[in-house]
Symmetry: C3
Subunit: 299 residues, 3 copies
């Protein structure tokens, strides 16, 4: 079983992940060990930097009694010598029971899966997908809003290059939700994603600001590098910053989410607002990844 993309993920599979995550949650919170993956080895291949995702997969695996090998710095690996991804995967498969990988190229995880029979978990492939983030996002929504069906969710910021957004949009598309896409014109979500969602019967709207009363406002960073000139960037980016002032225009029950790390798109002054749930969201990464690892490698 691979976890490559949420695009063709079945609702029943997502529900099973959420169900399992609920069981893992108290284990994760007490930082207890549950040795169901004892004797199993997870390889974490990070061809791109990561703190949160790498550490949370490692923590989840170790909490389940398993062992972790891997690298987080391709400069110290054979990749530097020019080895292809296919070769790296074929070698590592004889070391491990499953592979978690992050890679700068879109489609890298799918490619890797073609060269091995052990499970591949995509921890981010370029600006394409980051499915385990979407699963923990859904768990956060379920846990905090007690349901997913029937909600309106605003996805905001860099919708074009944000793999987190792409994964979450498709995952939400398996539920009975309304989605609002809020972004500057230059960073709109791809037309084919809109079309896919509409075909699935999802109500979709587009807007260019984050003033919303949605049940959830999911904010992501707008990166300077995406804009031809700095003035253009400054003009639009300021409309996607959440601070004490702009928070006043957000619904009283709107839960604020962010995949982290944030830089300045959410100011620390609002961290203690009861709507701000991004650190709680981050903490759900552990039980969600415990659930995924147990499904992929467990008996």
């Amino acid at each position: 079983m691979n976890i490559i993309s949420t695009r063709h993920m079945k609702r029943s599979f997502i529900e099973e992940v959420l169900e399992r995550t609920k069981k893992m949650d108290p284990v994760a919170e007490s930082k207890k060990q549950l040795d169901i993956l004892e004797g199993k080895i997870l390889a974490t291949l990070f061809f791109e930097p990561s703190t949160r995702t790498n550490l949370s997969f490692t923590t989840a695996m170790k909490m389940l009694g398993g062992t972790v090998i891997g690298f987080d710095n391709p400069r110290t690996s054979s990749v530097k010598k020019g080895e292809t991804l296919a070769d790296t995967i074929r070698v590592v498969q004889s070391y491990a029971n499953a592979i978690v990988m992050r890679h700068p190229n879109e489609g890298a995880a799918a490619l890797a899966a073609e060269f091995t029979n052990i499970p591949i978990i995509n921890a981010g492939d370029g600006s394409n997908q980051h499915p385990t983030q979407a699963l923990l996002d859904l768990y956060t929504i379920l846990k905090e809003k007690h349901k997913i069906d029937g909600l309106e969710i605003t996805l905001a910021g860099d919708l074009k290059y944000g793999r987190t957004i792409h994964s979450l949009a498709y995952a939400l598309g398996k539920f009975d939700v309304s989605i609002v896409f809020a972004s500057p014109p230059a960073l709109r979500i791809q037309r084919w994603i809109i079309n896919d969602l509409k075909s699935a019967g999802i109500s979709v709207k587009e807007t260019d600001n984050i003033e919303t009363t949605s049940d959830v406002l999911y904010l992501t960073r707008i990166q300077k590098e995406r804009f031809p000139d700095i003035e253009e960037y400054q003009k639009v980016a300021s409309a996607y910053v959440l601070n004490e002032e702009s928070l006043k225009k957000i619904g009283k029950e709107t839960m604020i989410m962010h995949p982290l790390p944030r830089v300045n798109e959410i100011t620390p002054e609002i961290d203690h607002d009861k709507r701000a749930k991004y650190f709680v969201q981050s903490s759900y990464g552990i039980p969600t990844r415990m659930a995924i690892l147990s499904m992929v490698m467990g008996d």
Copy 2:
């Protein structure tokens, strides 16, 4: 419980660490496992390079049956993306039972402790403090000299920027000792540290050479970068080098210590002198850190 600085550390606490270290010592020496931290997770966040401190904390944690996660290269982490220390800590606290951190900024560990309820252990914050080094230094003195009270200790080299020196000076200040500070004028220890020690009733002297008959001579490296010009550096640095020649001017019972790594301030020709104890000192890092981890995370 945090281990941030030796400045306000109580003598009774230091004595408890030394007592526990004594019990851990045979465990560390035989490289046996003592599973009192089984199921506990330590996060080691090294925002600055380290071999010895990182490896010795990792070894100590694993010898106690615990699990280690972390990073030793901030270039591969979210820090590179501009995440604040506060955010990193708030995320990592949901992964681990305690955090060991090294950071280039003075006060970073104290800042981190404000954002979390899990224990923070300072493994070096800029040129401020390195308290676990001081505790292993005290254990070395106790073990080799069979007491701390009543001794005269010379701290030599870069007293201005050396965090090891600052931590050790304050830790020694809880005992009934005499301290001699030996350094070039440009690298003298801060006046407020001298004043703090004098207020605590410690006898303090200052000198500009390492010729001593103290019970302990604790040498540290003088870094080129601290001097405006290379000539100035060469003029003073040579007076803080311990070799066969300069060793003749050191007391017959003076124990020589160094936090390591050394570069050329102690030449290898004196490694086999019976007074040279820096490798023994280094080896006490394991039992001392086992003691600290067990106090911080144990039941």
Copy 3:
């Protein structure tokens, strides 16, 4: 017991490694744990990049129930501060039961062994030796050809700088084999290795192409950097590339081996040829290193 070089390794020792590897093979394949090194600590000190060797030692140690500490990036270590290898070894020996090390300098592992009483395993010292690679290569030959004595083996590519070649040539030299050295004139194997092998009664030939009917063709990469100009490189390198075309000139029973990573010296189009055994060879790294670790650290 150290594993520094195959040059003076006894045939009886090699046979014991092969025998033990055979017992470890099913354990490695099912990725089960065999806890004979529980409570033991292995330090992996990689002063030079590695994926395969580092990951496979780590995996082998963990499969045997042991613990691994270490670094794979000297830029994050004390080495950066100018510490000598001798000092690093003397410090690390108090943390671990054995050390695996890779270092850019020829003789580094032998030097390290002079400063410690714990076992040193050489995982590559410059262009000198890589003995555990040679042992897994021999295991591959034994496993796939059911014997070593009586075989003809062609070692091809960069024979001058290839540490894998040097280790394998000496290891083969303990058996009753014929060796063919195939390389461009500029990358011929050292005369003293030829002489050593001939003194040991080995039949040795040299050639400048890889067309062979040997039982084994062991190919290695020819690096651009070895040639004064790029034209010179391109002229010779093309004769050491194995693709569908050149494969036709290789014996029908000739097993093709490569230490990996490969870049373009073997094209992926021949990966499914039944003679291509380099991924199988790579997978034998785990049981071979399990055997070595158990011999070096086991009771």
